[in-house]
Amino acid sequence: MDVKTDGMERMNERDWIEATLSGDKRAFGLLVERYKQQAYYAALGFLHYHEWALDISQEAFVRAYYNLNRFDTTKPFFPWLYRIIKNLSLNELRNRKKRQSKLEELAFLEVTEVADTPTRDVEQNEIRREVWVALERLNPRDREILVLREFQDYSYQQIADMLEIPVGTVMSRLYNARKALKHELADKIGDLL
């Protein structure tokens, strides 16, 4: 697809949606291009496996395409896509029962500091494990908002749009979630710093 030939890349998201509704698949391709990484990480936040996250995020785009006529074009696209991803991911999880045992691998996480020595690798694995075990113990609502803020770096406004709650509620929920995480990490905090 050569998007540069018709100036389509300069159109905004709303134009792309309207062009898609008029039958232009290339316009939908631009939406995919813009949001594919966010969609993948959103699914990964729920599913924790690369293949599942790829599959569900792609399926979410397909569902979005077929239901685009029901989308309110005055609103941003990604929060709507996020809710599709969330619903698909939760359905997927209900159908997968052996998730917990495989989660021990934690292959979907990385420690952002560079590993220098084998000892450092061990420490990094420890950080990954402790943080994720603590997150897994939180209630899904707290975990979701922490993943959106801490792992995906969304702004308060973006989180508010995705969860369909006021910005003030985002901050108080985030406060409660961070307090709950602190409680779960408890005496390990000193070792992990």
Binding site: K25, G29, V32, E33, K36, Q37, Y40, Y41, L44, G45, H50, L54, Q58, E59, F61, V62, Y65, Y66, N95, R96, K97, K98, K102, A107, F108, L109, E110, V111, T112, E113, I127, R128, V131, W132, L146, R149, E150, F151, Q152, Y156, G168, M171, S172, L174, Y175, R178, K179, L181, K182, L185, I189, L192, L193
Partner: protein, 154 residues
Amino acid sequence: MKTNPGQIPEEWQILLMKALDDALSEAEWERFEQLLKSSTEFRREWEELSRVRQITRKVGFKAPRKEVWDMYQSNIYNRLERGISWFVFIIGVLLIAGYGIFEFITEFLTDAHVPLVMRVGVSLTGAGVLALFASVLREKLFMRKNDPYNEVQR
């Protein structure tokens, strides 16, 4: 100022979150510093939450291999095409099957030249094939939902 039992005031919560996420305005920053100096409880909350934030900052989602993105969009187009193809295919099959059944009833079953035993035999064979197909389909769908070895790498 709203406060829940056992919790710090909502204003404090908001200031702490904004400070952790580098989102304080100048006025909020002044209020934040003032609270840090004047309230032991606020200062303790800040220190505790800062340490949690330092830990969560160390962990992130691993980026997939670069090649994954090359195929991402074409996979979506494939799925879209497959969905449309299935829809068209099913409509076609339904039309052909409907016409076939209509012809079968009006032409074959009512044809006095075809022996009765043949008409009954063909009807039973057709019904049997349909019942077998439905049974296998139901079993496959059930297995797909309830397969205990679904996660096992084959």
